[in-house]
Structure formats: C-alpha cells, structure tokens
Amino acid sequence: MTELFLSQDTSSRSIGSRDVLSALRTEQLQRGDFDLVLTGSRGAFFLEPMIEVSTPGGRVGYANVHAEDVPALLDGGMLDGAEIRPFYLGLVDDIPFLQKQERITFRNCGIIQAGSLEDYLEVGGGEALRRALFELTPEQIIEEVKRSGLLGRGGAAFPAGLKWQTVANCGSDEKYVVANGDEGDPGTYADRMLMEGDPFALLEGMAVCAVAVGAHSGFIYVRAEYPRARQVLQHAVDVARDSGFLGHNLLGSGFAFDVEIRSGAGAYVCGEETALLESLEGKRGMVRPKPPYPAVQGLFGKPTVINNITTLATIPPILRQGADRYAALGIGRSRGTIALQLAGALRTPGLVEVPFGITLRQVLDTFGGGVQEGRQLLAVQTGGPLGDVLTEQSLDLPVEFDAFAAAGGMLGHGGIVVYDDRTEPLELAHRLMAFCAEESCGKCAPCRIGTQRATEILASWLAGEAAADDRVLLNDIAFAMRGASLCALGSSACTPVISALNLLPGMPR
C-alpha cells in the first residue's frame, strides 16, 4: 500500500502539520488506500507542512499543505505522485536545499518513523551498538571515535574521543553518560529535531559511549521547553528497554545500561554542563568551578561523559561506516559535518548539514536563499546569543571552529541568526545584553551585576540619555566579565554587544 510521510516535529506542527494529520486520518478512514508514517522533520521548514508519498521512483513531496487541501490532493492523484500545483515538489531527494547537503547525523530525520525501533534497525540502526558490544574492545571504540575527529557539538568543540578516554581511565564504581539536550541558544533547534526525528540514534550513541567508558546509567537532560521531544524520547526509551536495546542486558551481551529522561525548569545556563549536572542532581542550576571537569567529577561526583545530543547521535554512523569515512569530510581540525541552523531574516531558513569548510556566504546564499527582496543584510550572529555579531565583510569565513575562533567569533552549536535592515542596531545590542542579564544564573558577581549594569546603560541609550563616560564603564564591565566570570555565559556576554557597538551603523561612540 502507498505510504504517506508527514512530519510531526514541533516546528512542523507549529505551522499546521497537526491539522494536516487530522485531515489525513479522516480521509484514511474513508478511503483506506494509504498508510500514514509519522516522521520527524527534514529541516526544510519553509516547505512545511510537507507530505511525502512513496512512489516507485522515490518519495515525491507536496509542500505547504493546509488541512483543507488534503481531500483535493488525494482526489487529484497525490498517491500516485501526480503533479499537483502549487504543492508539487517532485522527488524530495532532488530538492536543492536537501540535495546539496551531506546528511550523516540527520540522515534519518524526516525519513523514518520516529518512534519505530523496527524502522530504525531497518536503515542500519543498531549496527554500531552491535559492533561496540561484540566486535570492539572499549579501547577500540574510543580509538574509532578519536580517529573520526569528532568534536563536541555543544559549542566548546572539545574532542569527543578524548573526553571518553578521560572517563574510561577513571577508576570508579559508578560512571554516567549524560546527553545535553538543554538547547537554549535562540535560533537553534538541531537537538530538538534530532530527538524528535531520530531518538534511537541518540540512545544508540549513548549506549556505545556507556560500553566504551564503562557506565551503566545515563540521563538525557531535555530542555523544559521541549515537551514533545521528551514525549518522543520517553516512548523510544520504553520501546528500547522492552526490546533489549537498553536495560540490564544490551542486545543479549550481559552489559547493563539504562537511560532516564530529566527536564530542567527553563534556565538557559543549564545548557552549561556543570550547571546541568547541578540541576540533574536536583539542585539550583548554577555553574560549578572547573576543574574538576565532569569527566573526572561529574554527576553526583562521579566520572561523567556529558555530550551534546548531536554529538552522541553522530556516533552510530561513525561506528557503522568507519571513522575514516567521517574524518574524510571537513577541513583542519573540524572533521565531518556540522548541522547549521538558519534562522531570522532569510528566505528559506532551516537545518543544513554540510561538511566543514563551506563559507558562511555560501550557506546563507545557497541554502538560506539570501535576505528578503529589497532588504539589506544588517548582521549575522553565529554561535548563539554569546557569539560575535558579524557583518557583510566577514561572510567569507569558512565554517570551521578554528577559523571562527581566529576571527574572534564562534561557531558554537551551529546557530546562525540573520538580521536585516528592519532591525534597529541599538535595540539589537540592548536585546542581546538583556538576554544575558535575564539568563545569568546569579552565582558569580561579574555576570550577575555586570549584565545588569550593562543592560541599564544600553537602556539609557535607547532612551536617548547617553552619558559621556558610558563607553568607559561598558568597557570596564566587559573587561571584568571576560577576565573573571565563572563560565562562558559571563565571559562572553559582552562579546556580541561590543562587536555590535563597534561594527554596526548608528551606534553611540
């Protein structure tokens, strides 16, 4: 029977795919000539809600479908892949936005049924865990991960294999694997898309990690604002446990590993690994001083691998296809692919997984479609709210951790937010600072008081009350915060503001 695929990812649902689903279900009851497969999103949000139909030639797509369009589409021959305008997209794989990507981490997103372990196994899932349990020694697993060159995708770009190695080397009765799903950078959504679209890949990545480091307990810390991701994950964990994919006897190997899901209470800073661990322990989400690093003293004081969701979800393809294949992609120290999340004033925003090395301009033009007609690019902010504000001049930077760092910016978790000339520069600067003031955990003095004072100064400028020594004060605050803050939130909080003040037009000097 013909299969229809529909994304029930949070983004998709927010623009109507839930209504489309009800309409399809109604029709399914009456017609009964198609099966419905609920997937995650492919990340091409400008096409959603999108229905895909399996045809002998491949999946054919229908974009921007509304619930009321569904009967007509079915009547018009959608099940046969008919060319119905204006919805018809042709073969989904040929859509340039998708076709030009190199999907490894997100290979299954939007393609398989998110909650189905069978579907996951059918596309090669489980192979990595099987190898880890039965073919490789823990040392070999870690060696593979190291060889892949995989850097942590949470933002700090620390080599994943090295982190695992540290935990594996710790002699301890208890160790933990923690998946950081507290994706708080405004304009980022890769973790959420993955958790909702390919949850078993995450679980498999965690299980492989557990085998490698000798952990038997794992936690996924899901952002409080991601209820659906939590729901999908919980379902996946239940299914995995029932099937021996998790639990006291992984794939019959005798190795025990189980996963629990936890949520915070909506604090940005809990995405910082030590604050996340505090929160997991049931305490107030505040940053711990490092060292000791979590790999040595993490959750409940035990050695802990804490990796980003996308880092862990990249492990299964690496182990299945071999580290070398992954390492062959990318440039410099940044190997493999990165999932960039385009947001803001672009024509076709969405998630783009590409090998490192592409320039920012290529990303914005090729995938983002540039700014809207008649608009001028004002600024691009990469790496989340703490990242540098870049302007037109910087767009030829290659997307690569070290190149960004060398240019004073950051790639972070891969968020790219574009502002056009409708944005008032001073308001942007104030907004950026106010975000940090709002999200400061309040532990260290430079961040707690500094963000507040800096926001107040910017607010006074907005009100037209700039004082003569304000820039000196701001610079002093920025200097102290950069030099003395406890975590990256504080030390980077002034970075985008200072760069905005320096680079954008119409700022008080």
């Binding site: 060292p291 102290a480 030099g483």
Partner: protein, 915 residues
C-alpha cells in the same frame, strides 16, 4: 609535595590544596569575599583571580588546585583593574553599606578602600537596589537584604556547617536573593546556630545585640574593649568561645576556629543565650529565712551568713554525729569548686556524703563502662567523628541536646559515614540514618543483646580481639544466645530484619563509634544498658582505635569533671578509693586532716535519710533538686524536713525557695576555673564579666565557710586548686593552668620521670584496659519500672528541646524563653484521636504520683502508645509525675519511662460542670 611560586616567592603545598589555601596559610592577601575557611570553595566573587603562568585565562585562586612548578602572579595590572571593577559593581549593589555584627570585619568595605573602588561609579539612576526586606523575626539576628551581596556564604554555612538548609537562593541573575525558607526566619526550620551570621561579610546578617550596642550612645569606657576566651557552660561538648565584652557587658560570644571541639561552630544556647547573666532575677546578696515560712527571706551580709552556716553545721554535727550534714555539688560548677566541695565535705563535715547531679544523668555510664573497661569515661575524641566509618547513636538526641556534635554527625553522614539510630522517637538524626531502630522505651538491653546475637550467629565477631583483649566471653555468648532477632522484636517492637541490618553494618564498617545519652542511662537498667553497649564494642573490636569506642554525650558542661575531681560519695579524685591506704595517705598528707573511709550517701539516699530524720542539714550548690529530681513531691518533703538548708545559686530556684540560707553565686562567665568536657578535655573557664552585687564564686563561699569552721583551705587562685588536684591525682598530674593556655588537655595526662609535658590522651585503651582485659558483662533484659496498663496507657518519655537547658534556670531568662515558652506534650496522631487531644490544646497528664497540665503537640515524631515532653518549665512540674524507680546499681533515676494517661482539659471541666 608540589612546590609553587607566588609573586616570586616559593612555597610548598600538599597535593590537592588550592592556591587560596596556600595563600591563607602563608598569610598572603589574596582578595575574596565569598571564600571562607569553613566552607567549600564556591568561586562566585571572582575577586581572587590570579594570573597563572602559561594560562591564557585568569584563574580563581579559591578553585585552582596547585601543580608542581606553578608560577602565580596575584597582582598584575589586569587583575587589579578587574578587582577594582568588581568591587565597584558590588558597591553599586549595596551602596557600600556596612553594619557590624556579621563576620569579624567589614570584608567588602576594607577591600574597596584598598582598591580605591568608588561606590558611585556604577550608581546614580542606574542603581537598582534590590527590593529591600528586613527580617527581624528571629530572636538573635537580623537580616537586611539591601546589604546583601549574594556571596552565599550564609546559604552554604546553613547547608555545609549546620546541615539545616533553611537559607536558599531564590530567583536568577540580578534578582537572585537570599531567603529563609519559607519566607521568614521565625517560620523556618532555623535553629539559630548563627553560622550564617558569622560568615556575612557586609553585616546583612547581623547579631541584634551588636546592632543594639552599636546604636547605643556610649560613654568612652564602654566601647567594645576586650575579648576573653572561655568555655561554654551549657552542655558537655565544651565549645570554645571568644567573649567580646564592652565594659561589664557581653556583646557577643564568638566561636573560635582553632578549637578541635567546635571548630568555629556553635549552637543557639552557647552563642546567644547569655542574656541571663544580667537578668534582674539574679541573686545579688545573701538571703536568710526569717520565719518558718519557706521563701520568707531577708537580706544578710556574707559575714553573717558564713557565721550562721558554720555554727549551724558545727552544732548539728556535734549533736547528731557526722552523718548529720551532706553536700550536693554541681556538674555545672568548675572542677576547682567541685574539688573544694568534696574536700569541704570530707574535712569539715568528716563524712563522704558528697554527691553531684551527675548522679541523675550519667552515673550509669560510669558504672557500666567501669565494669567492662575498668574506667568510666569516653574512650575516644570528638575529632574521631571525622574519621569513623559508622556512628551508632543510642538514646541521644544530639541535634537538640548537643547541637554542635549533632551538626558534626550530620556533616559526617553527608560525607558517607553510616549512621544507626536507636531511639523511640523519630528525632532529626533518623532522617540521616541508614537504619533507625525505633524501640519501645526501656528495651535498650534487649535490642543491644539482639545486635550481639546477630553478630555472633553470623560470624561477624572480632575473634582475635576477643581472644587477646577480653575475658568472660563464653558467659556473654550464652546470655545473648536467647536474644534472637525475633524474640527481640517481640520485646522491643524493632523489626527483626532491621535489627539484622544494623548488626551487620555495625560489625563490618571497619570503625564503628557509639554515642549514647540519657536514653540509655536513665533507666531501671541504665547501667546494664551501658554494659550491653560496651560489650558490643569489645565483641567487634571497636575500641582502642581511631573512630571507635563508647562515648557518652555528657548532659552538663562538667559532668565529667565533677566526677573526676571526687564529688562522689565513694571515691576521691580520679575514682581513687578512700579505702586504699596509699591513696588515703597521699590525701591526708596534702590535706592534713583524716579522710573518712565509710562510703557516703548517693543523692536518693540523702532524701531517704532526710525523710528518716537522720540527715539534718544540707548544702546544695547549683542544683535545683526540687524541680529536676524525679518524684519531686518526695524530694520536696525531704528538703522540708531538714533543720537547715543552704543553697548556692544564680537565681531563687525552686530549691532555694525552701532554703534557710541562700548564697548568691557567680556564673560560669563570671569566674575562673576549668571544665572537663565529654571527651575528657580539661579546658579553661575565664572570668568574662564581674558578677552582680555581692555574688561570689562557690569556691570563695566554700573557703569562707571552711575557715569559719576552723579548717581553712587557703587558696588564693583557682590555679592553685588545680595544682593541688594534680599533685593528688596521677592521671591529672600533668595539668596546670599554664599548660591549658594552648587549648586544653585530654586526660590521662600523667607525669613520669621521662615525660613532663605529656600531650594528653585522645584515645583510651589502645594497648590495654585499666583492668587489664576487658570483661564481657552479660546482662539480661528487665522490663522498665513501670509499664502501661489500662488506666495509664501511654508511655511518657522526658527529654530536652534545643532551645532550653535542663531546668531552664538560665535559658528561660533569655530571649529563648519567648521562642519556646512552655513544655509540650508530643503525642502521635492515633493517640490524639483516641484520647480526644488536639494540637495546641491543654491536656491533663496523670501518673500514679501526680498530675500536670501540658499543651498538646500532635506529632509523628513519637510512636503510637508513647508520648514525649520536656522538663524545662517549673510551671509544668513534669517531674512530679515520675516514680522513684532508678538504676539498680547507681540509682540514676528512670526519667525516660513512665506510664501516664492524658485527657483533654476542657472536656474534663465540662464533665464536672454537668455533674
């Protein structure tokens, strides 16, 4: 040991220490406001950032662990610029305000001065003072959030030092604030230990008394002008304080950091409850009863009362023989005073009728441990709490009665030390316990024997220790064989499986340490309970090593010392027997008077003798027998039957009211001397303020009366008394005031030919027991003296609450008298329903002896069928309910078990009305 360089100088530091720890040790000034020696590093103020060579970013000294070869610069221009900005940011937050009464000095403001930080730079319109809240709801300290800089030292002290977790940080970022959960201190679980106040660098948390003092316009001579180090006079923990004194007024009791006893911590009583010193009720002149009516006094002079006492005592002794006069001295008094009192009794009265109030608390401990070990004192030190693997707490409630020890135990448990609690109530420690054996009151012996039964039957006994260092094991094994977990469950109500678990934990921890309190000793089988506990220790080899042993928590400050110096009817100093000719010879040579041999009366025997007319006169020093003795009506009858009663006290106590002469005494803050705490540590007590009016120390009073009786004891200074004690007592021979200057010595402190500066003894019985081998003392369970029946269905337990101390003579006369203003009857909700009792309502509680009125508190702290009350308030006279049931060996009263019934008061009156 890593070598590091700080600002060009080389230092050595132990592995794992932080740069800040090195700096503090070496006296290097690295700035910080969030760091405290008592707390874990927190790294929030960031003032301590330093430049470590080779590091791109700056490092916070408080969280940076030293590494070999580390080169550190603490004052680069960059660092100084950052510090100054940070200080200015802080000042913008609290406008640079400071008030005294928090930590030792104005930490933030001093730094601001040093760095020339301006409070105005980030101020003006942009300055947002956090919505100020002032919380004055606690009795002793105040919190003003507008001064707070969120260093969280208070929050961490509440958590890490006291384990109370009352203080929290609420909100995020700039709107973060410190709150006492659930909003104010009075509504919170705050125990007013003051650890938070001691940490506050700006005085946002501040002692009210310091604030009051600072707001009082002062004549020049009353400015805070001196500090005096002394020992707390409340419980037997023996915390060390620095009293801060202005003129003759105590402003603050500041717990010192260098004491191994309290390590800078304190409880509400020690730190704050000293208001009684200046209470208007204090006795300031001697009183003489002027009619037959008790309490009808006139004031007299010291000359007059001394002559009167001397003549009455002399006459009564002449006409009635040497048994006519007896003395009770006080575990509240100093060693020197207790020593003099027993010397007075033995020389001036010519008998051994001297006892002290340790009789009613830990006499069973002395007897029980004596039997097994050959000596009756704590085997180990408080410091062992840090090293032990398991703490067994039996019949004690340290978080209320010995709060500093309680806090130390909580800290240990949080570090991973195991805890077993044996107690009929769900006391606070049970929340921390691995196992709580909630036994029926009075069944200690059965439960302790049950533990031994499991240990033996599961092969967990330390066979080698038993073979090498004990005797009489076979008899013991035979006795405990009957105490199977199931049979113990029947007697005690403790589930057999829990008992097994506790036994395994205790026997296998590697180092198990027992603490016990009056819940063990104040029973018909008190001494037996102590023996059963000591038996357990030798059964498992848990004695004579660090982190082990049997450790009584002494109720009063000098229970240990008053007994050590011979204020007991059967022994002289350090338990030397007067029957021993060598001992007697030594004492007689020193005293130059004969030492009587016939053992004297214990306190209960004194009451009996008084009632029988044999005892004609008594001198009772610092002991409110008429309120605190059990079966109080009998005791009052005995006191009323005396021809002549002398009472020395701070206040006109219930006992003093019955006296013929009342002597105004000086309190522990008003005299010099020593106390010996529960771990055998002899510590100095120093005169902090002058006593009121004509009050004199008991030592002075005793010397006056002795002289008037023609047997003068010439002591100009308490140190001379200690020297005499040392001369007479081998185990205290090395003690002198000079040597105590450095913080106290734990006896035995012998002097030999080789060693003249013995360091004291932290752990007893390491090689041998005083009696050679330890002797197993097999004891059988005997039911308590009184068991519930149909008419009196509830078992009443009596004990202390945190805020008050014993008879409450002192604490009731402090602000704590308002915090807890009555004795409460705790009953289980089931019983409350059964007997119609409601929270906050009055109940009549009746025993076979008497009846009292108490306010009900319905609580699940007690088990169904049991009830609890304290005995701090004379209005309630709880002790009138008690029987004369007492320990079969030492006659330590059975305060802990009595059968009562409780009825709601109002219903009763209604019923009468109808009739």
């Amino acid at each position: 040991m890593p070598g590091i360089t700080i600002d060009g100088n080389n230092y050595e530091a132990a592995e794992g220490t932080t740069l800040m720890e090195v700096a503090r040790r070496e006296g290097l000034p690295i700035s910080s406001v969030c760091y405290s020696d008592h707390l874990q590093s927190y790294g929030s103020c960031r003032l301590c950032v330093v430049q470590v060579e080779g590091q791109r970013a700056l490092s916070a000294a408080c969280t940076t662990v030293v590494r070999e070869g580390m080169v550190v610069e603490t004052g680069t221009p960059e660092v100084r610029r950052i510090r100054r900005t940070l200080l200015e940011l802080y000042l913008s937050e609290n406008a640079g305000q400071y008030r005294p009464g928090g930590s030792a000095h104005a930490e933030l403001n001093d730094l601001a001065t040093e760095y020339e930080a301006s409070p105005l730079r980030f101020q003006g319109e942009r300055h947002t003072v956090r919505q100020a809240t002032v919380d004055n709801t606690g009795p002793y300290f105040s919190f003003d959030s507008s001064l707070c800089i969120l260093c969280a030292r208070c929050v961490r002290a509440c958590d890490e030092v006291q384990g109370q977790n009352v203080l929290h940080l609420e909100g995020r970022g700039f709107s973060t604030r410190v709150v006492a959960d659930p909003g104010t201190f009075d509504a919170s679980a705050c125990v007013t230990c003051g650890a938070c106040v001691k940490e506050c660098p700006t005085g946002a948390l501040s002692d009210k008394r310091v604030l009051e003092q600072s707001q009082r316009p002062l004549p020049a001579h009353e400015t805070p002008d001196r500090t005096v180090r002394t020992t707390c006079a409340y419980c037997g923990v023996g915390c060390q304080f620095e009293a801060q004194v202005s003129g003759n007024r105590i402003i603050r009791m500041y717990p010192v950091d260098d004491s191994p006893v309290n390590m800078g911590h304190a409880c509400v009583k020690g730190r704050y409850a000293f208001d009684y010193v200046r209470h208007p009720d204090r006795l300031t002149r001697p009183l003489i009863r002027q009619s037959e009516k008790p309490g009808d006094f006139r004031e007299g002079s010291w000359d007059e009362v001394v002559a009167l006492i001397a003549s009455r005592f002399t006459k009564l002794l002449e006409s009635n023989g040497p048994d006519a006069v007896a003395c009770i001295s006080s575990s509240r008094g100093t060693n020197e005073e207790n020593y003099l009192m027993q010397k007075f009794t033995r020389i001036c009265l010519g008998n051994n009728h001297i006892d002290n109030c340790a009789r009613v608390c830990h006499s069973s401990t002395v007897a029980g441990m004596q039997e097994v070990f050959g000596t009756g004192a704590a085997t180990n030190s408080l410091a062992d709490i840090e090293s032990t693997r398991l703490i067994l707490a039996v019949g004690c409630n340290p978080t209320e009665a010995h709060p500093v020890v309680g806090a130390r135990i909580k800290r240990a448990v949080r570090r991973g030390t195991k805890l077993i609690v044996i107690d009929p109530r769900k006391i606070e420690l049970t929340r921390y316990a691995d196992v709580h054996l909630q036994l029926r009151p009075g069944t200690n012996v059965a439960v302790l024997n049950g533990l031994a039964n499991v240990i033996i039957s599961e092969g967990l006994a330390d066979e080698r220790f038993i073979a090498e260092r004990t005797e009489n094991y076979d008899a013991y094994r035979e006795t405990v064989a009957a105490y199977t977990p199931e049979s113990v469950e029947e007697i005690s109500g403790v589930p057999a499986d829990l008992l097994r678990r506790a036994a395994r934990l205790y026997a296998t921890s590697g180092a198990s340490m027992a603490y016990h309190g009056l819940g063990v000793t104040e029973h018909l089988t008190g001494s037996y309970g102590v023996m059963a506990l000591a038996d357990l220790a030798i059964l498992t080899g848990n004695v004579g090593r660090p982190g082990t042993g049997i450790n009584p928590l002494r109720g009063q400050n000098n229970v240990q010392g008053s007994c050590d110096v011979g204020a007991l009817p059967n022994v002289l100093t350090a338990y030397q027997k007067p029957s021993d000719p060598d001992v007697r010879a030594r004492f007689e040579a020193e005293w130059r008077w004969p030492v009587p041999q016939q053992p004297g009366w214990k306190i209960p025997e004194m009451w009996e003798a008084a009632l029988a007319g044999k005892l004609k006169a008594m001198w009772i020093m610092g002991y409110d027998a008429a309120q605190t003795e059990p079966n109080t009506d009998l005791v009052r009858g005995a006191l009323a039957n005396l021809d002549f009663l002398v009472v020395s006290d701070l206040f006109l106590s219930e006992t003093a009211l019955l006296a013929h002469v009342v002597l105004p005494a000086s309190g522990a803050l008003e005299k010099d001397g020593t106390f010996t705490n529960g771990e055998r540590r002899v510590q100095r007590v120093r005169r902090v303020v002058d006593p009121p009016g004509e009050a004199l120390s008991d030592a002075e009073a005793i010397c006056e009366v002795a002289a008037a009786m023609g047997k003068p004891m010439l002591h100009r200074d308490p140190s001379e008394i200690m020297d005499e004690i040392a001369r007479l007592t081998p185990s205290l021979a090395g003690i002198s005031y000079e040597r105590l200057e450095d913080g106290g010595l734990q006896w035995p402190v012998p002097v030999t030919h080789e060693v003249s500066n013995h360091p004291g003894t932290a752990i007893l019985h390491t090689d041998r027991f005083p009696r050679g081998l330890a002797r197993f003392a097999p004891v059988e369970y005997v039911p308590p003296g009184e068991e519930p029946d149909e008419r009196y269905p509830l078992v009443l337990i009596t004990g202390r609450v945190l805020q008050h101390y014993n008879a409450g003579t002192m604490t009731r006369r402090t602000r704590l008298g308002e915090v807890v203003d009555r004795d409460l009857l705790e009953v289980h909700p089931d019983d409350a329903q059964l007997y119609g009792l409601k929270d906050h309502c009055q109940a009549r509680v009746e025993s076979r002896r008497g009846s009292v009125c108490l306010t009900v508190r319905v609580s699940e702290r007690v088990a169904p069928g049991t009830a609890f009350t304290s005995f701090h308030f004379p209005e309630a006279q709880v002790n009138t309910l008690l029987s004369s049931s007492a320990d079969v060996i030492t006659r330590c009263p059975e305060y802990k078990v009595l059968a009562v019934r409780a009825t709601p008061l109002r219903l009763r009156y209604d019923w009468r009305g109808i009739k």
